[in-house]
Assembly symmetry: C2
Homo-oligomer: 200 residues x 2
């Protein structure tokens, strides 16, 4: 039974508590800077602060957007692995929730953004670097591309590496911040000392 009360007036966000409304609206506006649209941002924010999974109609009512828009938004969020379907006993409708652990969310975000924003460029660069330059201009361009490729590869290698760490260790590393540099410095000395015996 759908208790679909027609909205009292306009299409605005309805009776959400002000705190939640502010949060949802902010994510909606931020959405564009993050490459997602307003509705998707709002849906995500709403699910993120919701104590239990919501179904599509609840989202429609809370945000005041069309059912089909919510459907598409949820679809996109699922493609991003940012929401998952939960089933509630004795309820045929799909319910949706965000992962509870913020670290998990961070991992998913990093992974997906890398997949969409970095990997394609990396692969184009690789391809272009394979070709033989046909002029001085192309040679120079390729050298620049090689620089870019090298940097991105270093970054992604590092990322692939640290993403394997358990959250516990990751947090420790974060907490260390640049103090870790001192460690590296120390290691560096040891290494370069060792190297000096053979070379230089």
């Amino acid at each position: 039974m759908t208790r679909n009360e027609s909205g009292p007036s306009d299409r605005d966000i309805m009776q959400l508590p002000p705190l939640i409304q502010a949060f949802v609206l902010h994510f909606g506006e931020m959405g564009s800077r993050w490459g997602i649209n307003r509705t998707v941002g709002q849906i995500y924010a709403l699910l993120y602060v919701s104590p239990e999974p919501l179904n599509a109609d609840q989202i429609v009512e809370a945000l005041g957007v069309s059912r089909s828009n919510v459907s598409m938004g949820l679809r996109e969020l699922q493609a991003w692995n940012l929401v998952k379907v939960r089933h509630i006993p004795d309820d045929r409708r799909d319910h949706f929730a965000t992962p509870g652990d913020v670290w998990e969310i961070l991992r998913v975000l990093a992974e997906e953004r890398k997949k969409r924003e970095v990997d394609p460029t990396l692969s184009v660069l690789r391809e272009l670097l394979m070709q033989a330059p046909a002029s001085e201009a192309e040679r120079h361009a390729q050298a620049r591309m090689a620089e870019m490729h090298g940097l991105i590869e270093q970054l992604t290698n590092w990322y692939e590496d640290v993403k394997k760490l358990e959250t516990e260790r990751l947090a420790q590393l974060l907490a260390l911040g640049s103090r870790v540099a001192r460690l590296v410095e120390a290691t560096d000395k040891v290494v370069s000392l060792g190297r000096r015996k053979r070379k230089e």
Copy 2:
């Protein structure tokens, strides 16, 4: 998505070497995923691989877009600190170039994206966390916001920390990858051992 498919229109990119053209076109298409528009992406790519600074008209000719569009694109890239003006002796026109060092570019990008994508959210979260929750729903929402805020703050603190490192050290750190975790682990032991006697 793409407008200029294979039309031999005179508005297309002109006599760029194929390698450079491919690079420029890729950055144009990637632009949308990066929150910049096609022209801005293309301008950046073009300047990035150019051996010397270009003036606006050269960009117009290379990309086949309007002069005003180039002007706006350059303006945006300058706002991002991704291109700088260079002056060529005996030439009144402004010339533009990207920073040569890819690490410098990385720093600029990180800084600007943080400024645009993270800082506003952090400040909204802080503000919302100050308010007294008026209901159980708000209380729960605030708890979730606090989790998010905590994580973002940890990340930005880490970032503020490591961005101070010289490129040299930064590269070392990257190269270490997750092996740094072992160092941390070891240090952890040493430190906790040492703490019983003395420090550092």
